[in-house]
């Protein structure tokens, strides 16, 4: 892992050229580099400093058990990838963790506190924010308004205060400044007054991620952040995800593309048929027989090339 790291950064420095300022910032250190070296890659293994813990989380739809996770810890400050063939229950598990769906049984802890049955909207104030597989850009709001929506502590979001402009104007200006800063970082300044509905798929993903950052989250949960994004923008998005780690935020993301997973994740969790079948570093996971079986046994058609000389630069060309 540590051996690969410098390669990553050099490559990113080159390929994220479209990312401009964002690309330059990418060369920050990985704060959790080397942390996983001594951890054994078995499902349910304990981590040094877990931010999120799921115990016995189970959800079924009718007769079908969509999620059945015995135990999972997610390391603080790291990028954890959640992978698995189609229908493995990744998105459902995501929904359960973020309060968008309710588990039949089980417990989830965030920073040591139980978040069982806590409404999804309350999790943002506890430092957890998520994005969606199908991007939820708010089409008929401008990009800037999309961003401002993410802001915390805007008193003007109460109906009574909303009636009197001076009560929220000052905070609104602060929020706007923060929003413009983030738009700048994500290279979206030129789009800030456009309707979000006019953006391309990749730009929407960027807006959604930037909007999530408006809440200043500890834990960012990205559901397929690269889905439907053109290759040119992929590197830029990857850079932004790494930037989150550099800012000491925790990232969990669902992904199909193994190259992306290898490139940016510190730890990989593999799900199949609702269960976690493997955990480990990106290097070790490709050699895991259970994972290979799960993928080959399904009709999933994404590249599963774990050859040892596979480098991120090739990945970006592919």
């Amino acid at each position: 892992m540590t051996g690969n790291e410098p390669t990553n950064e050099i490559v990113l420095g080159v390929t994220a050229g479209g990312g401009g300022a964002a690309g330059a910032e990418m060369e920050h250190d990985n704060p959790v580099a080397g942390l996983f070296d001594d951890i054994e890659g078995t499902p349910g293994v304990a981590k040094p400093d877990p931010i999120l813990v799921a115990k016995g989380v189970r959800r079924s739809f009718g007769g079908l058990v969509a999620v059945d996770v015995d135990y999972l810890e997610v390391q603080r400050g790291a990028i954890t990838a959640l992978i698995g063939p189609n229908g493995a229950g990744k998105t459902t598990f995501f929904n359960l963790l973020t309060g968008f769906d309710k588990a039949d049984t089980g417990h989830v802890e965030l920073n040591g506190d139980s978040i069982d049955g806590v409404a999804s909207y309350k999790l943002a104030s506890r430092g957890m924010v998520r994005t969606f597989q199908l991007t939820k850009a708010l089409s008929k709001l401008s990009v800037l308004e999309n961003m401002k929506l993410g802001a915390k502590d805007q008193g003007g979001e109460s109906m009574a205060k909303a009636l009197i402009t001076p009560l929220w104007r000052r905070r609104e200006n602060e929020v706007e400044e923060q929003a413009r800063g983030l738009l700048d970082r994500f290279n979206l300044t030129h789009m800030s007054d456009e309707f979000a509905g006019t953006l391309s798929g990749g730009q929407r993903k960027l807006v959604e991620m930037a909007r999530a950052l408006m809440t200043d989250p500890e834990l960012v949960m990205l559901d397929e952040p690269m889905a439907g994004v053109n290759p040119a923008l992929t590197q830029s998005l990857l850079g932004h995800v790494k930037q989150l780690r550099a800012e000491k935020r925790t990232v969990i993301f669902v992904e199909h593309d193994m190259d992306v997973v290898r490139d940016i994740s510190d730890w990989v969790v593999v799900m199949a048929e609702g269960r976690i079948i493997a955990e480990g570093t990106p290097e070790s996971i490709g050699k895991n027989q259970a994972v290979v079986d799960a993928y080959l046994g399904s009709s999933h058609d994404s590249a599963l090339d774990f050859s040892d000389d596979d480098t991120p630069s090739e990945a970006s060309d592919a």
């Binding site: 739809f61 009718g62 969509a66 459902t92 929904n95």
Partner: protein, 460 residues
């Protein structure tokens, strides 16, 4: 009707063709039904009317003559030898109507002593029928169990049959709505107008033959110029219903789907359509309730604890047969499977070679003819221009109860609605029975929004 025909035909000739065409196109509805016999559309101001009858000791229906009926400040009437009475009213509104119980024949009483004063709501141009239930002997010993008081086995049985009847008829209307939703995602507010359409076209054919639609055929012999038997008329009504369903889909909704109009916009369009159709109906048929020429008055059979008229019995049996047939067709035929496939996943169905537009057309045709037949069965009791709209929410209740989009769900939901509203009258005032259905629907949606047979949805 016949007298007015030559006159109108004369009028037709004086108009040149182009004007006629433009006129016909300009007002859509008139083009469909504008040629209906003129007499159908005539309303002689508004009035309240009714017929007073009761069953004597021998169980024969006899008219009550010489009974005074009055409306304070409006007018009064005395029933004639047939028991008929009528009081004209000055305009639309709600009028108190009272029966003078002292003028009732000896030994005859009101079935329900509380109902000596009625509130009669008369709409503009409407002849409103008002009912005073009479019986020979003391109130309470009545055979009309649905109107009785208290809980008894007989009453529950009778109400269950009534509920079953209403549920079966509702199911005919609900299945089409549910299938259309399943295959296209559209909530069709105009579906109830297909029920009315079936009812009215059957009535026209039953009473006037083809002349009911195309006036100048009147001098010809039946079925062109005269009425036909209700059974044939009902088949004709079903065809009309299917045709209307097909035309609506073909001319309106297929285009909307092509142009990518959102489902909510389509739903609002069906609302507009429902209003348009309803007022085209009242324009052409008038506001008065009517009944079919055949089977209008029947004495009830007593089967076990239950009284049921032969026509209701036949209609119920027929609807059970038809509903089973619909179930079998859905389950066994290629088209039925294709329908379910489209309802399950439209894109997948399309990519596996199913002609989705054709399937949707068939769904509309089947939905339209089933709704029309439901209308015919409902019409055995009453035929009215806004009948469909009045049961629209019951249809919705049935469909949502069972789970939108599932045919079997609609059937189960309809039966529940029928039974609930009828059995609820054991404890609750009859006036509130439809409200009960609506409340039950809201409750079910609260706790099981996917309906009884619907599947839970996944988020994300």
């Amino acid at each position: 009707m016949n007298e007015s025909d030559p006159q109108r035909c004369g009028g037709d000739n004086k108009l040149n063709r182009l004007t006629k065409l433009i006129a016909a196109l300009a007002i859509l509805g008139f083009a469909i039904l504008g040629l209906a016999p003129q007499s159908l559309a005539q309303d002689d101001g508004q009035s309240m009317f009714g017929t007073l009858t009761y069953e004597n000791e021998e169980g024969e229906k006899v008219p009550a003559e010489g009974v005074r009926i009055f409306s304070e400040g409006i007018g009064e009437a005395v029933s004639d030898a047939d028991g008929a009475w009528s009081i004209p009213v000055p305009g639309a509104g709600s009028f108190p109507l009272e029966i003078d119980t002292s003028t009732l024949p000896d030994g005859v009483n009101l079935k329900n002593a509380d109902r000596a004063v009625l509130d009669v709501l008369v709409e503009a141009g409407q002849e409103k029928r008002a009912l005073f239930g009479l019986l020979f002997g003391e109130a309470g010993s009545t055979a009309e169990l649905t109107q009785g008081e208290g809980v008894s086995g007989r009453r529950i049985a009778q109400l269950s049959v009534e509920g079953l009847k209403q549920g079966l008829y509702l199911a005919m209307a609900a299945i089409g709505l549910s299938l259309i939703f399943g295959t296209t995602g559209l909530v069709n507010f105009a579906h109830a107008e297909l029920v009315t359409w079936g009812m009215l076209s059957t009535f026209l054919f039953n009473a006037y033959g083809f002349a009911g639609f195309i006036g100048f055929l009147a001098p010809l012999p039946p079925p062109f110029g005269g009425g036909v038997n209700l059974i044939f008329a009902a088949i004709f009504g079903m065809i009309c219903g299917g045709l209307m369903g097909y035309l609506l889909d073909r001319t309106i909704f297929r285009n909307l789907r092509r142009s990518g109009t959102s489902l909510i916009a389509q739903m609002v369009i069906t609302i507009g359509m429902s209003i348009l159709m309803r007022y085209v109906f009242v324009y052409n048929f008038g506001g008065s309730p009517r009944s079919f020429k055949d089977f209008s008055a029947q004495t009830a059979w007593s089967i076990g604890p239950v009284d049921i008229t032969p026509k209701d019995f036949t209609a119920m049996a027929l609807s059970i047969v038809i509903l089973i047939m619909v179930g079998l067709l859905l389950q066994l035929t290629r088209m039925g499977k294709a329908m379910r496939a489209v309802a399950d996943n439209r894109d997948l169905a399309e990519s596996s070679g199913i002609d989705v537009q054709k399937v949707i057309s068939v769904v509309w045709i089947a939905g339209g003819s089933l709704a029309a037949l439901g209308g015919v069965f409902f019409g055995l009791d009453q035929i009215k221009w806004d009948f469909g709209f009045r049961i629209l929410l019951l249809i919705f209740a049935a469909v949502t109860l069972g789970g939108l989009g599932t045919a079997y769900g609609a059937l189960v939901g309809a039966l529940i609605v029928g039974l609930v509203i009828n059995l609820s009258t054991i404890w609750i005032d009859v006036e509130l029975k439809n409200m009960i259905a609506l409340l039950v629907m809201v409750l079910i949606l609260m706790f099981r929004p996917q309906g009884i047979l619907g599947r839970a949805e996944r988020i994300g």
